[in-house]
Symmetry: C2
Subunit: 592 residues, 2 copies
């Protein structure tokens, strides 16, 4: 059975050596000293390793079952969920007066990484609840906030997102679910929603569905969509539960993975619902939830690669097969461990350098969210808005790729469910799809985010890289291995942007045909920036007399690997982008 | 439920326009005129679409079951297998006097593509039997040939390959299974083999296991391995079945995919076995089977991508979502079909250009095998020996990648088992692992095949490309879109080979650390050559007045896409290779 150990040292490195969180001028950050965050992460890691990780394979094998209208989660999930609630792990960033710990989002992210890595399907029950919490926090009325926030923060009640319908996912303007206004100000919601993660289960007293629906007579398409709160069980103003609402789980989907999470078809039959925010402005509130979810999914991507990587390293050290070409390394054994072989190394270094780059980008992104929210910093807000599709799209594509690569280290054993490596790959697969398939992320990036606010944010991004390179030009230790490749990759990215500007005017397809490549290029450039910064931080730690030299030297070596072996991908992406839409759009639909 | 239609026109294009099989001076090829091959392929396509494809999802959902020592295949498999036998589909390339059709291997390959695409797990029962047939044909005694070949050709009895043991897969020298010689010239085989595809089942009267084992007192390691025939049921010299042999299925593995095939743990307990070929020379005979299996697995790789692609195209044409940015294409409908979107096009073109390139390379490879075997052509033998790891490694990596990409076209529906797209990805995954994990293929290519016969074959390969480019330099239609990119990619590949030569001497890890990238580069160059040739063939067909202009124009356009959008990957691989082993091998094992 696979195991998981929270990489507390690595998490601490990103928080303190890289981001220097306790020195940031963001509300609540000054309290994030290494002792405090270390203690929290150690404790979270313990829950992750001891409670959540062992349930991961159980969840996969058992799945969720719908019986007589009741959804049963896998054995042990309920007890573990209680432990999460009791430990206060569900409300880290909620305000203290509603049962939370009032910690910054960056800390929520760091803790969440350990949970998601240990058991992705399990953690979705809490993750979606957090999304519902945030949407109501930002767009709900005072009464709604008072009613729902404390219960969602503590996961006494859980939350869901209801967007997709059988005939529409990305194009929500086609939605058919109706919300008919009632005299008492409530609405009657009717329709079918599909792919509802954590849609029904047995781990909370009530479930608060956030449902997109159309009020009859409103504008056509996406402009006529409103957002509603639809509780599974109706309740009075004190939260005391009453009758069942007109909502039920029609079916649990059979999926490729995340079997531990109940993915439900939800049927709404004149269910009572309460409008959030204004009529027909539902997408605005839903986007709060979606942007948060996209960050969370980007984390899922690398988290599954991390889980798979940890186990691949153990296997590569244990499994004896063949001999090192440069001389036996285990002369007394029948063969050398797999890890002596260069191609196994290449594979493991790919995984390691990806996961650590992704962690840095995700934590940095979370700190930008804190800065945007707590300091009302519009530049930070613009930057994270630009980076969100990259974090979601690039990290989930690569996360799946490297979970698959880790599975490969096991040879035939990787294909057998018993070893658990297949689950990491199968679970990671969904992250490329939900919360906007990665092609939609690329479209969002190239079709919307690049030009947002007159292109201000992407220019600031390039400026930031340029400044970093300029500020460190005299640093010989960084120059050839980090700054030069970063400069080159950043130039490639700018050239691609330039190509879009010059050719997208003539034909927007010239930009859109290159959007996916651009998303990947930008991911590489972000990772290149993260690795250059991490290398610098590691060098500084060594200069300042850090005792754990192996740890910091490993960071630098891993960064060198990324710059040398991964970053050159930008050249390929640029070459593709520069061919424009012609070959992409050449065929008639009938000739595929 | 997914569907499958055999792409007979495309198969014919490769056989006749590209390879011009009926004009080749290879025994049996002159009979392969378009009418004949067309009729065979139409018929095979019918069996594939109507019999095998509908059983694909059944096999996945039901899997194989071991009950009271008996292995039961999924519902309908037995009847379908009978149909395959009765139709003579199992013995296409076997000699007529042993029940075969005496067709060339290239024709076996073309027919096999349709079977494997329709139902990979099902076709493995026959594919492994074919491998056992080939090993006995080449290395068996006359008595063994007379006994087993007719029954294997017709699949009255099926075959298996038994290599892997719990503690060793790639490194077979560690093997523990023993073969103790008996006075009557037979051996008693004892030990455990794992991952035995089609190891036991209910579709044949007997199963002929080819088993690697060590005769006590023989040389250490791989040099002491011999190959044995071990029938499931003992038989007399007329093939009449007698008592059960000492071999049994201990367990069926739970796998990520190919559930329709019984992957067995096989226990040998003093089972009676008969030596094939010489003592301690077992690997030689096993390699016949393994090389054939590697070609077959390379075919599985693109076959699953083809199956997934066909369905993705249907979905992309059916599913209405969003509007084309260049103006509505389905103005009367609520939205445009997915296929209008450039990023969906990019994805489908990636898949299409891969599958068609892979088919061309695989069929060409099969014709090289025919030329080597039937004409005793050593150059052809050397070339296919060089290409086999590329066909296996590159095509299965990319086949999985593009099956996953096709799944992505479906959005959330791609993750739900009901739509069948998950199965294509899960089934395709094994092809990267078995018959030598792809890292081992890369090692075989760089560590052995490049230098084989003094590097003669790789030089011939480069020479072939050079000649093609030179011979067609005056062809303006080919020049910029095909010849120039091919030349550039081929130069990249040569530069990588040069890097290995210059730096592998100092430290072999400099070559091995780049082996995986080299395998991919070489795959791209092979595909580039295939596409340049296919484009030329299509242009000639158009010049010669072919009436189906859309078909040939589509070929050219698809080729242009490959050259523009896929071939630039060689630059990235070369950049990686040129960084050598330093960053790959930098860490101590303890620091991963």
């Amino acid at each position: 059975m696979p195991t998981y150990t929270a990489p507390v040292k690595d998490l601490q490195f990103v928080l303190h050596d890289l981001l220097k969180v306790s020195e940031q001028d963001i509300e609540g950050y000054s309290e994030l000293d290494p002792e405090f965050t270390g203690a929290v992460l150690e404790e979270a890691g313990k829950v992750s390793s001891e409670v959540l990780a062992p349930l991961n394979v159980v969840g996969d094998a058992e799945g969720c079952v719908l019986e007589n209208g009741v959804v049963r989660t896998p054995k042990g999930f309920k007890e573990a969920f209680e432990q999460m609630k009791e430990g206060g792990w569900t409300a880290l960033d909620a305000a203290e007066d509603i049962g939370g710990q009032n910690l910054p989002y960056v800390m929520y992210t760091a803790v969440n990484e350990t949970f998601v890595t240990a058991n992705m399907a399990f953690n979705m029950y809490q993750g979606l609840t957090h999304g519902a919490y945030s949407a109501i926090l930002e767009h709900g009325s005072d009464i709604q906030k008072a009613m729902y926030l404390p219960k969602l923060a503590t996961c006494e009640w859980t939350g869901t997102m209801n967007l997709t319908e059988p005939h529409c996912g990305t194009d929500l303007g086609l939605m058919r679910t109706k919300a008919v206004p009632q005299d008492d100000g409530t609405f009657k919601i009717s329709g079918q929603k599909i792919f509802i993660s954590a849609g029904d289960h047995d781990m909370a007293d009530n479930i608060i569905h956030l449902v997109l629906a159309k009020i009859p007579g409103g504008p056509e398409g996406i402009k006529g969509v409103s957002l509603f709160i639809v509780p599974k069980i109706l309740h009075d103003e004190n939260g005391a539960l009453g009758a069942a609402n007109g909502v039920s789980c029609g079916k649990i989907e059979e999926k490729m993975g995340i079997h531990g999470n109940s993915t439900c078809v939800m049927n709404y039959d004149e269910a009572e619902g309460y409008l959030i925010g204004e009529e027909h402005k539902g997408m605005r509130a839903m986007f709060v939830m979606m942007n948060e979810a996209r960050m969370g999914v980007g984390l899922q991507g690398y988290a599954q690669a991390e889980a798979a990587y940890q186990n691949a390293v153990i296997y590569a050290n244990d499994r004896l097969q063949g001999r090192a070409v440069t001389g036996d390394e285990n002369p007394d054994g029948p063969a050398d461990p797999l890890i002596v072989h260069p191609d196994i190394r290449r594979n493991l270094m790919d995984q390691k350098s990806f996961v650590e780059g992704a962690r840095a980008l995700t934590f940095w992104g979370s700190s930008l969210i804190d800065r945007a929210n707590k300091n009302n910093d519009e530049d930070a807000d613009g930057l994270i808005s630009l980076l969100t599709p990259v974090i979601k799209g690039f990290q989930t594509d690569k996360g799946f790729e490297f979970a698959v690569a880790a599975q490969q280290v096991y040879g035939g054993h990787g294909y057998i469910e018993e070893w658990g490596m297949s689950q990491f790959a199968r679970d990671a697969r969904i992250a490329m799809i939900y919360e906007g398939a990665n092609g939609v992320q690329a479209l969002d990036l190239v079709g919307r985010k690049l030009a947002q606010d007159g292109g201000k944010h992407v220019m600031a991004f390039f400026e930031m890289i340029k400044s970093f390179i300029k500020d460190n030009e005299g640093n010989d230790a960084l120059k050839a291995d980090f700054l030069d490749p970063l400069k080159s990759a950043s130039k490639d990215l700018q050239a691609a942007g330039m190509y879009f500007m010059q050719n997208g005017m003539k034909n927007p397809n010239n930009a859109l045909a290159g959007s996916y490549d651009f998303m990947h290029m930008m991911g590489h450039v972000c990772f290149g920036l993260m690795w250059a910064r991490m290398a610098k931080a590691a060098m500084e730690a060594l200069e300042n007399g850090a005792t754990d030299t192996a740890f910091y030297e490993t960071k630098i070596a891993t960064g060198k690997y990324y710059m040398a072996r991964q970053l050159p991908a930008t050249k390929m992406h640029l070459a593709r982008i520069n061919t424009g839409a012609e070959t992409v759009m050449a065929l008639k639909a009938a000739n595929f």
